[in-house]
């Protein structure tokens, strides 16, 4: 510890590659452009965090990517229907490692719709890192979830 402080004072920082990459990844997340349902464009949810009031770009996460191969975060906003579930699985599989998943609203638990057509929770389909419940979750809740996710990204040893 003492050596680190000395080195820092001399303008030298030591760290590991892993820490640098994790730092870069979590401050520049590339979510996949996928909106399933109301959580994507409702008053809470994805569209709301993009506006200047909540400003997702503060967290570096505003650059949504169109293709799963270029993204590292799957934000599932909306109800996961049983018909959609295998396709979500495929999207997840196509995303290269390291990757994370954030479930919003219905995807967090499926609660408002306990029906024959709904997968009650994204975790039944893919490993989920952070769940943000709510119908819809407020934009602040989504941002809080994203901060949780960033904290998780900083600790790769606990990744699901």
């Amino acid at each position: 510890m003492a050596e680190r402080i000395e080195a820092a004072a001399a303008g030298v920082l030591t760290t590991t590659y892993d820490r640098i990459f994790d730092w870069a990844r979590r401050l520049g997340v590339r979510p996949l452009q996928l909106g399933l349902g109301c959580c994507a464009i409702g008053a809470g949810g994805l569209m709301a965090v993009l506006d200047p009031r909540h400003d997702l770009s503060r967290f570096g996460a505003e650059a949504f990517r169109a293709a799963p191969r270029r993204s590292d975060l799957l934000i599932v906003a909306g109800t996961v229907s049983e018909k959609m579930a295998p396709l979500l699985r495929r999207l997840w599989d196509e995303m290269p490692d390291p990757k994370w998943a954030l479930a919003l609203g219905c995807a967090a638990g499926g609660d408002p719709y306990r029906t024959y057509a709904v997968t009650r929770g994204l975790y039944r389909v893919i490993p989920v890192d952070v769940r943000v419940p709510g119908c819809p979750p407020s934009a602040e809740a989504l941002l809080a979830g994203l901060r949780e996710l960033e904290a998780k990204m900083a600790r790769p040893e606990v990744r699901a």
């Binding site: 049983e82 018909k83 579930a85 295998p86 699985r89 306990r114 029906t115 024959y116 057509a117 997968t119 975790y123 039944r124 389909v125 893919i126 490993p127 989920v128 699901a160």
Partner: protein, 168 residues
């Protein structure tokens, strides 16, 4: 107002003979029960002669206590752009069951195509003469017809995602 003239629609319905089983209600809620086998002819007549050029909706209702058990409900619309006061809605109903398929009205309105598929999907009622009667909202391999009253809300567990999930 002077004595109202006889409604030409009611006259036309009377002229369809035994294809029409009953006429109830009034105005926009005028409801006509039609004999199942005659539904396509009745619809064609209503479209061609009475101006009901739009099929607004076609859906099913399950009455488990009845025989036959289902009802197919058609909502027709006469837009009447030239004389707006003549615009009106009409509801047709057909009693149908599993062994008694309903003639398709896709030849009358193309709008019926997707709607009849939905009734097949959710109720299990066949439509004869439909170009391609397949599930539309649910997936192939789903067992059962969910909007039937005896189908449980939470389903019977044949999820498409049932295979190939390893949880989290």
């Amino acid at each position: 107002m002077s004595a109202p003239a006889v409604d030409p629609l009611l006259e036309a319905l009377a002229g369809l003979g035994d294809a029409v089983e009953s006429v109830r209600g009034a105005g926009d809620e005028l409801t006509v029960r039609v004999r199942r086998e005659a539904i396509a002819e009745v619809c064609a007549a209503l479209k061609g002669e009475q101006g009901f050029t739009a099929l607004v909706d076609l859906c099913g209702v399950d009455f488990p206590g009845r025989e036959p058990r289902f009802e197919v409900v058609y909502h027709l619309l006469k837009p009447a752009l030239v004389d707006p006061a003549a615009a009106r809605r009409l509801r047709l109903k057909v009693a149908a069951g599993e062994g008694a398929p309903v003639p398709s009205v896709t030849s009358v309105w193309r709008a019926a195509d997707a709607c009849e598929r939905e009734v097949w999907d959710l109720f299990g009622l066949r439509f004869e003469g439909h170009p391609e009667l397949s599930r539309i909202l649910l997936w192939e391999g789903f067992a059962g017809h969910p909007l039937r009253k005896d189908f449980p809300l939470e389903g019977t567990g044949t999820g498409a995602s049932a295979a190939g999930t390893d949880g989290g």
